[in-house]
Amino acid sequence: MAEAETPVAPSAPAPLATVRVYRHRLPTRIWHWVNAVTLLILLMSGLMIFNAHPRLYWGEYGANFDRAWLVIGSTADSGYLRIGSLRVETTGVLGRWTNAEGVEKTWAFPGWATIPTSYNLADGRRWHLFFAWVLAISLTLYMLWTAIGGHLTKDLHVRRSEWSPRHIWHDIKQHARLRFPKGEAAARFNILQKLSYIGVIFVLLPLMIATGLTMSPGINAGAPWLLDLFGGRQSARSIHFIAAWALVAFFFVHIAMVLLAGPVNEIRSMVSGWFRLPPERKDGA
């Protein structure tokens, strides 16, 4: 990812020349945008499926008479979210909300957040189970490419020096102060970027797929060890839900970083591959 179009000579930088580096190769760009669409559809159709039974349990079984650790519900005039013993009023957003036609509904997640917009479990499942294949196939291909194409060892590999707590703490402080890498350093992933991308590609997304498969009674018969791995079907459903929100959290941080680091340059680099290095800071920090 650090193939410089213009040779970069750190000792004598041309003051006004824009240095462009080829930052994202084609498979990365394709996978990024396929994922952007796929994950949005999976999230929204997943929220529709959740609406069919807005309760989460730990263990193998769980239904209305059993203790749920998370519930999105409604009373006669309000909506609420309950996690453990913590109860939050969510009227208007969760549990009780008004749809686009002005009709009050008591499904857990509101119509603007689900596919389709009105309750339809069959259609939600159809979108979800089709795009689950898109996710699984594209993730598998991308993982293979990162391993074979050198992306993993060249760009994502965390070097020994980067593992030092001092280095990580320094990077966290720099991010918190919104001081992002400039110059040549911006062409490489920093430690927090590496850890987030590795976390998403090799932990969160595989976890989504594995917990999703663990909810399948057909897969359970063929691979019962998945039930043991996640502690039962309802635990797998709970982990699936939590991991989905972890991906949403990643999305918001990702978008915030893109906006703060320069949205035009960042988005352009994910389209064309070419990234303009931000000029070095004067104070040398």
């Binding site: 193998e60 239904a63 059993d66 069959a122 159809r126």
Partner: protein, 256 residues
């Protein structure tokens, strides 16, 4: 920073009115309803069916649990009490005259009473029931393996599906479901007459219900009155093989 804040505020202000979101939402639903889109999306079902059949042993068993794992209360769903005088009369007589007809592509069509079914070799299994809605309940089921009934009737080689006819009417039709011969002959596919060591409650499908353990709950036909071997699902209901499949597009293959 400020250059981002302003447009976003304007955007939020613009989206604030619910009416403003209407065109976007209806566009999403138009995509959902487009026949071509529905056709592409339904490929997912075929991919799931084909991959599960290809990768999983056809006789792989659903996990069986112990009595310690039973759900304290086994939730009933769908029809809880079939309407009509005929079913009420069966209840009054303790289902003494209930019969299950075995018909279609079989060498010897016959019908079975509950006494006939209980006289056959029985299988008891403690399994997890998974509703398409997302909940699960563990129960102990006792009944006869469907494969024994199919063998006794001499199902012909031309039969590709087994259709289950039921006594509960939902809206315009009696409930019906179907499965392929792999699931029909699976060792855990039973016609159950007992739940948790007691006679099957009405809400759970008395006197006889299907257990098809590697698929979701709507495939588990309750109040079973008929078992029909067919070569094609075309003539069954609207042709998709089940009550909900025909009405609201639930997938016929419910292994996921």
């Amino acid at each position: 920073m400020s250059e981002f804040v302003m447009p976003r505020r304007q955007l939020i202000a613009r989206a604030g009115g619910l009416a403003a979101t209407l065109p976007l939402l209806s566009a999403c639903d138009a995509i959902n309803d487009a026949p071509a889109v529905r056709k592409i999306l339904s490929m997912g079902e075929e991919m799931n069916r084909a991959s599960q059949r290809a990768l999983i042993d056809r006789n792989a068993l659903a996990r069986e649990f112990t009595r310690a794992d039973l759900s304290p209360i086994f939730r009933a769903n769908g029809t809880r009490l079939p309407a009509g005088a005929a079913y009420a009369a069966h209840v009054a007589r303790g289902f003494a005259d209930w019969r299950v007809a075995v018909t279609g592509l079989v060498a010897k069509p016959f019908s079975l009473s509950l006494a006939d079914i209980r006289a056959m070799p029985q299988r008891t299994q403690i399994t997890r029931h998974d509703c398409v809605e997302g909940w699960s309940a563990i129960g102990q089921w006792t009944g006869v393996q469907l494969s024994r009934i199919l063998t006794a009737a001499g199902v012909k080689d031309s039969a590709r599906y087994i259709v289950f006819r039921c006594a509960d009417r939902i809206g315009d039709a009696l409930y019906y479901e179907s499965c392929d011969m792999v699931d029909a002959r699976h060792p855990q596919t039973i016609l159950a007459w007992a739940l948790n060591d007691a006679v099957l409650p009405i809400a759970n499908g008395a006197p006889l219900r299907l257990r098809i353990e590697r698929q979701l709950g709507y495939k588990h036909a309750k109040y079973v009155t008929g078992i029909e071997a067919v070569a094609s699902l075309d003539g069954i209901g609207a042709g998709k093989g089940g009550y909900w499949e025909d009405r609201i597009d639930y997938e016929w293959y419910a292994g996921i």
